[in-house]
Amino acid sequence: MPMYGDQGNKLVQHAKRMQNLTHLPPYQTELVRAVTREVRDLDKDVASLLEPFQGSFDPSADQSTACTLLVNHLSMRRNKRCLLAYHRTRTDKLEELVWSGSDVLDLAGQQAGGANGATAAADGGASSSLSPQEEDYVRQYGDLLAAYKGQWTDIDLTGSLEPPRDLFIDVRVLKDAGEIQTEYGAINLTKNSQFYVRQGDVERLIAQGYLQKLG
């Protein structure tokens, strides 16, 4: 028996599954559209139900219509809650990713690309698992975080909470990251090469997946 609210429920089940994942699954564009469409249909129903009353509807005089209106209203309210909860679960996850320093926009493209083989990697951005609004959100949230962090130059708010055992570590380069400047001069990070570097200099690159810590 398909019923109002069923689509919304599916959306929430997606959100539930998402809570146990480390990555962000693709945005459910179709489902979101279906649920909003349902709300619009319900709203139209309410409008046409109320039309003959010309704004003077008396619930006690027409109980069955009152009940229908209540059911429609509750269905809309339910759908709204499902939609908001789904998006909130996703934005929570996105904020978490931004804080942990992973390059979300880049990551999204890669995941989509990886699934379709290497050839698709070039146009990976088009099949991102983020909706366009979410990409915007991540970008702006990232800016906000950067501005906030900028107030303290001598402490890295998103740095690791684990005290380092060694000041210097061995790293292997997983993908080309170009040249970086350190206190000890410039290093050119080309794929598959290994370096002995100061941990503080490369922490962000490790978090972003450019480098792998060895040993």
Partner: protein, 195 residues
């Protein structure tokens, strides 16, 4: 329970048996007959988010009745309650409802059932003790059979497996917390020894 709480939203999707108290022409689709009016006395299973308000809302008519009346869902029926009284640990709550306690809490808000609350309280306390017992055991397995059971939180064998499969969502969370806590404690102890 927050407005955005996923489990609370899923709990609201649990269905309870309702009976409509008046004819409603436009709601036939609730009984799978969209072209027919919904007759008074029709029994329909409605999700909590819908039923809850319909049960409370007054029709506004002279007789002061509500749109629908409801019965306790089978998950909280006499059979289950009797089984819980006999031995709370022997009942796989998950088979009754994945959100058993959430559903029960809602139903107790709506109905005047006196006994249910105390039965459920005893059920939870008894089962919680059992859950924490299992959770601790799993922590031990994780370090002995290293590699094999690591990562899978529910990789448990033997008699406990069936009990743990019957946990409802809330109990599962409790289990996970207890398990993670025991594991983290053990890891911390080991890191202390190392240094």
């Amino acid at each position: 329970m927050s407005y955005y709480d996923i489990d609370s939203i899923l709990t609201d999707a649990e269905k309870i048996p309702c009976t409509f108290q008046l004819d409603i022409p436009d709601l036939g689709y609730l009984d799978n007959t969209p072209t027919q009016p919904l007759k008074a006395g029709t029994k329909v299973s409605l999700p909590l988010w819908l039923a809850e308000m319909l049960v409370i809302a007054n029709t506004g008519g002279p007789d002061n009745k509500t749109f629908v009346t409801f019965d306790l869902p089978r998950a909280l029926g006499n059979d289950v309650v009797q089984a819980l009284k006999a031995d709370p640990r022997a009942v796989p709550l998950r088979d009754q409802s994945a959100h058993f306690y959430g559903l029960a809490t809602h139903m107790m808000d709506l109905s005047e059932e006196q006994e249910l609350g105390s039965v459920l309280r005893k059920t939870f306390v008894t089962r919680a003790a059992e859950i924490s017992l299992h959770a601790r055991k799993v922590g031990g397995v994780g370090t002995k059979g290293k590699g094999k059971d690591e990562g899978s939180n529910l990789g448990i064998g033997g008699a406990g497996e069936e009990f743990l499969r019957g946990l409802d969502e809330w109990e599962r969370k409790l289990f996970r917390k207890a398990h993670d806590g025991a594991k983290a404690g053990k890891e911390w102890m080991e890191s202390i020894k190392k240094n």
